[in-house]
Amino acid sequence: MKIFSTPIPGLGPGKTNTDFPVLLPFKGHASGQTGDLRFSRWMVSASPMVMMIIAVLALLIPSVAAAQSKFNLADAFEVLWRWLPFIVGSGFVMNLLISFFTMAIGTAAGVLLGLGQISLIAPLRKFCWFVTQLFRNSPWLVLLFIVMLTFPFEIEIGETIISIPDWMKAVFGLSLPIMANIAEIVRGAVQSVPTGQWEASESLAFSRRQTLWQIILPQCFKRMIPPWMNWYAILTMATPLVSLLGVEEIVTLSRQAMEAEDNHPELLIPFYGFALVIFFAYCYPIARWTLRLEERYSVKL
C-alpha cells in the first residue's frame, strides 16, 4: 500500500491512531470518504493478472498527479470496486449479448449473401456483390449512427406492436458489416476449394446443389471457423461503439457511474483501464484459440 500513501480524506493527522478504518461505519458512497482496507482487500482478492496490470498502471502514475487533489487514485479504484457489479453485470453483459445476437444474425445473413455471390444467376450475384462491398467498406460507426437514428423503434405487425429495444437496433447496425465480412469468408472459402473438386463431382453426375452441400461446403467449413472467430473478436471489440448512441453497455455505464461520483477526473484511469482489462481477458483467449484452430486446420487440408 506504499504506492497510495497520500493522505486519506477524513483521516487527517489530528485523529488518533486507533481509528482503524475497518472499525468505521460502512458508509454508502459519500464522496471524500473511503475505507482504505476495502481497497487492499480487493487487491488481495484480485487475480494475479489484474494485480499486475494495476501495479503497472500505478507505477505509471507519478505521485504529483495523485497529490493534486483530495480525491486520489486509491479512492478512484475504490469507487470502481463499488460500481463493479453494476458495470459488469449490466454493462459488459450487454456487450456480450449484443455480440452474440449480432454474430448470429450476421452469420446467417452472411452465409446467404456469400452463396449469393457464387450463384449462377448473374443479377443475383452482382446484387450480392454490391451489398457486400457497400457494407464492408463503410465505417461501422457511420452505419451505427444511421441505423440507430433513422430506424423505427417499433414495428407493427397487424395488431401487435413489437418494440425494438435500443440494443437490438445496435445489433442490426453491427450485423451489416459482420454480414458483409462473413459473406467474404464464405465466398473466399468456397473459391479456395480447387476447381478439380467441382469437376470431379460434376463428372460423377452430382447436381450443383449436391456438389455445394456434400462436397464443397463440408471442405470449407473448417477453414471458415478461424476467420469467423476472428470476426467475432473484432465484433466484440466494436461493441463499445454503441455507447456513442446511448446503448447502456460498459462504456455508457462507466460514464454514468463517473457522473454519479461527481466526475472526478481521477476516475478515468480505473474505469477505462478496467474496460480495457475486461475486454482483453475476454478476447485474448478467443484469439489464442483461433490461432490454434487455424494451425490445426491448415495442416489437415
Binding site: 478439380g196 463431382s201 460423377l204
Partner: protein, 251 residues
C-alpha cells in the same frame, strides 16, 4: 434409325469434326474418331495440343463450338440433353485424382451411387468394397485421402468412377502426377480393366503402356489428329515428321 436403338456395331463414342476455341485460341480444329464397345484407345501428343480439352468435351465438362460428339448415339452437346444422364454413362479419372478429402476411401466410392443414383446404401457398400478389393486396396477402406499415397489415391479415384457402372472410362494423364515407382500400380489396374472389356479412352505419356494396352493410338498436335493406327504399326511406321520427332523425344 432411332437414336436410342443400340447396335453392337454402332460406336459407343463418336466424334465428328469437333471444333473448340477458348476465346481467340482455337484448341481443337476438327477432330473425328469413333470408339467401339470394348475398344481401348490412347491419345498422345505434345503439351498444350488439346488432349485434355478433347477428353473433357466428351464428358461435357467443356462445351464445343461446332461438330458433334455422340455417346450411345446421343448428341452430347445438345442443350436439351440431360447432362446427369450422360455422366452416369461416362466415368472420368483426372490427373490430380480429385478425391473428396473429407470422406474416407470407401465413402468416396459410395457417394455418387447413393446420392445420384439413389441406390440402397447397403448394396452400394457391398459393391464399393468389391471395387476397393479390385483396385487392391483392401484394408484402406477407412483411410482418408490425405493418408494414402498418390498411387493409392489414384486407384481410389478409379474405383469411384467404376462405382457408377459407366459404359466408357476416360483417363486424363492419370499417372503424370505420380512418382516413377507408383506409376506401375495404377497402370496395372487400368490394364486389368481394359482386359475385362471396359471401353477406355486414355491420354497418356507412357508409351510402353500405350503400346501394350491400346487397340488404336491417336497422335494429336495443334488441335488436329496428325497420325493414328494400331500400336503394332504406329511406333515403327509413322510417316508424319512431327510424330517422329515427338516419339524420338519421349522414347
Amino acid at each position: 434409325m432411332s437414336e436410342n436403338e443400340m447396335n453392337s456395331e454402332q460406336p459407343i463414342v463418336s466424334l465428328k469434326d469437333v471444333h473448340k476455341s477458348f476465346g481467340d485460341l482455337e484448341v481443337l480444329k476438327g477432330i473425328s474418331f469413333d470408339v467401339k464397345k470394348g475398344e481401348v484407345i490412347c491419345i498422345i501428343g505434345p503439351s498444350g495440343s488439346g488432349k485434355s480439352t478433347l477428353i473433357r468435351c466428351i464428358n461435357a465438362l467443356n462445351d464445343i463450338n461446332s461438330g458433334s460428339i455422340k455417346v450411345h448415339g446421343r448428341e452430347v452437346h445438345d442443350p436439351k440433353l440431360d447432362k446427369l444422364e450422360l455422366r452416369k454413362k461416362v466415368g472420368m479419372v483426372f490427373q490430380q485424382f480429385n478425391l473428396f478429402p473429407h470422406k474416407t476411401a470407401l465413402e468416396n466410392v459410395m457417394m455418387a451411387p447413393v446420392l445420384v443414383l439413389k441406390q440402397n446404401k447397403e448394396e452400394v457398400r457391398k459393391r464399393a468394397e468389391d471395387l476397393i478389393r479390385k483396385v487392391r486396396l483392401q484394408g484402406k477402406e477407412d483411410s482418408y485421402p490425405g493418408e494414402l499415397s498418390g498411387g493409392q489415391q489414384q486407384r481410389v479415384a478409379i474405383a469411384r468412377s467404376l462405382a457408377m457402372n459407366p459404359d466408357v472410362m476416360l483417363f486424363d494423364e492419370v499417372t503424370s502426377a505420380l512418382d516413377p515407382e507408383t506409376v506401375k500400380e495404377v497402370l496395372v489396374t487400368i490394364k486389368e480393366l481394359a482386359q475385362e472389356g471396359m471401353t477406355c479412352i486414355l491420354v497418356t505419356h507412357e508409351m510402353g503402356f500405350a503400346k501394350e494396352v491400346a487397340d488404336h493410338i491417336y497422335f494429336t498436335d495443334n488441335g488436329v489428329i496428325v497420325e493414328h493406327g494400331p500400336p503394332s504399326t504406329f511406333f515403327t511406321e509413322s510417316s508424319d515428321p512431327r510424330t517422329r520427332e515427338f516419339l524420338s523425344q519421349i522414347l
